[in-house]
Symmetry: C2
Subunit: 575 residues, 2 copies
């Protein structure tokens, strides 16, 4: 048996790894038309765009606006009217649900051909968990039929429709298997339109799923994914074609727009570059920064508060890779509690990165606040209020520079800090984008080393990597005075937040006693109110703080009382 069962027709298919801007219907339509024309010039018979390519992912509640939905329909008509003659284009867009009962929209794929009626199919499995809210807007399709293009039967389906495999279903299993149902109707090629965001190791997960499906059904598989970033979500692309035996025949480069081609008659293998976890993380964050700044299109430049520590150093280095050194500036804002290294390491970083650098000492502002507050604070000891005045004075200065010179502040806090509330609201949390909000501290270290290795020289000063982490808000303060060592903390946070384990399971798996684990989990819960007011953060894990993790702010989970209740019930039932 031929391992790459050939299609009975030969055809050149373009995979459009496309980067739409959410809601920019006219811009997305214009660029869709340009890509169709380019693919036609380059000899493609068919071009396949990703899920919701006309509106970007996710348009969220723009879809609740009837005028917006009308405009989407117009954009589809415009694109249809411009499909090059003889060519087919599959695009993704919301369309009105023809049934008056149920959600008002379908999440559809449309096959457009010049002068031909539109062939439409719609998504059956609607992710409604984590960052996904699809059932908020869409009615699931009750079935799918292959779309036919030039005699070729295309098993077109959308993103989640292919994710119903036991070994990959984290949240729940669905009662339908769209891919199997399409195959049962006879298809030459499975075609998946995705808007599948990046998370650690997502490339390998996709490969696992698609390989499984190819082998199970003996059909080649083509997947186009969005690329780019929209607020917190980063789309890595990773579009590809697998042969019927699962082997890779075509693959687009990750983290960039690409228009690649696959000839259905070809079974030449494609060699995908190695996907290293930290390299991908680095590339994802660089893309996320660039996209946030460029797509908001309000500010060209960013400004970052540099503390001499590793978080601000890594943030600045990533920003420079995203935007170039001339669009990044660093400001160090020493106080009386700052170590010498806070300024000198920041200076060294700025020199290494080639960015503008300013020093704005906060002493006079802190003194002014303490003077104003003296009548009220007289006789009280130095505490959180005074620590926060320092952090907030820095926030005011950074925002003033940002406002004056039309820059965006990037915040530098990492996921471990954000989890524990080890950050000051309206202080170091002030800014437009939280670059490391989903990166645990131990991964920040890995990123720092990676950045230096990649550059082949010191970009992040080694002293920033090696010094013990400190907020420097009081004399001789160290993170480890308030927090467990980061490797211990991060393991517990990862299990609680990303794997959604609780006290008992974490204690058992890590060997730390329940009270210790409980202390950390309670701190995470207690600081939900801070994260509510945090700037958006780039999501890189399966569970970031953001749209994908919706915890109540006012809540009273009492783990000690719950344990007591459960023990009492256990005793009762065994008594």
């Amino acid at each position: 048996m031929n391992p790459t069962a050939k299609l009975h027709t030969s055809m050149k298919i373009a995979l459009a790894q496309f980067n739409p801007i959410v809601g920019d219907l006219t811009g997305n339509a214009r660029r869709t038309i340009q890509w169709m024309e380019r693919a036609a010039r380059e000899g493609a018979d068919l071009i396949v765009f990703p899920e919701l390519s006309v509106v970007g992912y996710s348009p969220h509640d723009l879809l609740d606006n009837a005028a917006f939905v009308d405009a989407v329909a117009a954009a589809i008509r415009l694109i249809h009217s411009r499909v090059p003659k003889g060519m087919g284009a599959i695009i993704g867009a919301p369309v009105r649900n023809p049934n008056p009962i149920g959600k008002k929209l379908l999440n559809a794929a449309l096959l457009l051909e010049a002068g031909q009626p539109v062939q439409t199919t719609a998504k059956m499995l609607l992710p409604t968990y984590d960052v996904y809210d699809e059932y908020r807007y869409f009615e699931p399709a009750t079935g799918q039929e292959p779309l036919v293009f030039k005699g070729m039967r295309l098993g077109v389906h959308i993103c989640e429709d292919m994710w119903n495999l036991e070994e990959y279903a984290t949240y729940h299993m669905y009662d339908r298997d769209p891919v199997a149902e399409l195959v049962a109707q006879g298809v030459d090629l499975l075609v998946n339109l995705s808007a599948s965001p990046y998370a650690h190791d997502r490339h390998h997960v996709r490969t696992g799923i698609i390989t499984t499906l190819c082998r199970r059904h003996g059909v080649p598989f083509l997947m186009t994914n969005q690329v780019g970033a929209n607020t917190e979500l980063i789309f890595d692309g990773d579009s590809r074609v697998h042969a019927a035996d699962g082997s890779l025949l075509a693959c687009a480069p990750s983290f960039q727009e690409a228009l690649i081609y696959w000839d259905t008659a070809s079974d030449a293998p494609c060699h995908v570059p190695a996907h290293d976890r930290i390299t991908d993380l680095h590339d994802a964050l660089v893309l996320g920064i660039r996209e946030y700044v460029d797509k908001t299109a309000v500010f060209d430049d960013v400004v970052i508060g540099l503390s001499g520590g590793i978080d601000s150093a890594v943030t600045a280095a990533l920003a420079v890779e995203a935007l170039g050194p001339e669009r990044v500036s660093g400001i160090t804002m020493p106080s009386v509690h700052s170590s010498e290294g806070s300024v000198s390491d920041s200076e060294a970083l700025a020199r290494n990165l080639g960015i503008a650098f300013h020093e704005l000492p906060i002493r006079d502002a802190v003194n002014a606040f303490e003077g104003i507050l003296k009548p009220l604070f007289e006789g009280t000891p130095f505490g959180i209020a005074e620590e926060n005045i320092q952090a907030r004075s820095r926030g005011v200065l950074l925002m003033a520079v940002a406002n004056k010179f039309s820059r965006m502040v990037l915040t530098t806090g990492n996921k471990s800090e954000l989890a524990m509330g080890y950050a000051t609201l309206y202080g170091d949390m002030s800014g437009g984008l939280a670059v490391l909000a989903d990166v645990l501290k131990t991964d920040v270290y890995a990123l720092a080393r990676h950045i230096n290795e990649r550059a082949g020289r010191e970009r992040i000063p080694v002293s920033s990597i090696e010094k013990p982490p400190s907020a420097e808000l009081r004399p001789d303060q160290k993170d480890e005075d308030s927090l467990p060592p980061y490797p211990v903390l991060d393991e517990i946070l990862r299990r609680y937040i990303e794997e959604r384990q609780d006290e008992g399971a974490i204690s058992e798996a890590t060997g730390h006693d329940r009270a210790f684990v409980r202390g950390i989990l309670d701190a995470v819960d207690r600081n939900e109110y801070k994260r509510k007011q945090a700037p958006p953060g780039l999501r890189v894990s399966v569970k970031g703080f953001g749209g994908g993790r919706r915890m109540p702010i006012v809540a009273g989970v009492n783990r000690a009382a719950i344990e007591e209740m459960m023990n009492a019930l256990k005793e009762e039932s065994t008594a």
Copy 2:
């Protein structure tokens, strides 16, 4: 015909208008048991708690945690073991979906009797729109059967299950009608367990729906609703019993916990107090403040920045009603741009309300910042940066007082300002709860007048009501220099945000030209990033800024280009 068709059994039913704390399983279970015991003492046969009474509404992603779901099951067992002998109790709780396919939970109502197996039914219609995310967690039940208690057939269903009426379906219609399906199986009484939040006029909407259902089906209807507030959602209670002809037989007071009784043999009417829109709004906000402060249980007291304007005055007056004057303090923070009234009106307000009052002039802090920034800002004109330094210096001072004395800052911005971005992030937006975040400016005026009328004397200084609104961040600044008059603005905002109309429809309905309307809508869109970082706000309209309105931050809706595209297509199709 008897207008109030009698039940064939006579029974005393307790309506438990209960206020659970989200996630506080042991506390909620303990209080559930106390209420059951009290109802038993007072002769009730049956007590009916609201939807999700064991966990509060909404537990959000606590439900994603398997250990939490185990603990809920334990809490149910505990409650069941304590149901008074001879009595029935209907509670609301998530239970595991017995089907391995589909969402892991059901949103259930459980009828508990001492020593008897539990009778369970589950919600069929799962609201997944606005503030509701139920399909994120729950599988819809495929059907419901009446629960039988002492020979009485109870048509138990849950909240949204009764809301599938054409004239009330804003988002979509469902393909099932649980109430009709229950009635078709024969029921003596319809029983609805709700967690139905307050919004303007919600009392009348509920009356309309229940009256319609009673008359359509000729069956009496009992509804218990949660009361209290959880972060942004305010539950007004409004539990009631309607006779088969729709007339009201029992009604609980709104905005407070209540255990009321209805004897199924009685057809004595109940006179519900008038529900005036502004009175309800006032009571809802007072409850929302009290609950947020008391349920977070971190701070006893609040502190409010007083500007002399109407927003801070109304916020302070509401806080005093919620917490008492001894738990509220006001701080005025004049600058060189402040009018004389900013201090004197604040002082008058504090005197009227009987709250502590301090004056902290910001001049020294502003000067210090300007001094620090001088090397960078030299030669630039006074602008947004300088305005924001003032607002942010106030934010730092307020937060310092809050941190030092363990108080929570209440922010004072209204919905109109928040919509237009007429507020400073990390300045006047700093705080734990945004009291007026869902109250349009024109309603803030109505509240001010209501507060004074209700008190029979001046609590809000008349000069605060009558002076033209101003941010006082530059000489002679007035809101109307930057914004349209509030009655005009609010009408457009209401249509855009609450009714989800867009430019064309709003222009047509209001007579304002499209460009003018577009300017306002674009400003609302552009300021999404500010609202992302706003503190939680109390929701009082059908669409607040918060969990119920999920707009993309990075987005590029270009209304001018869309209009052009649609006009071009129209011309083409008529050409």
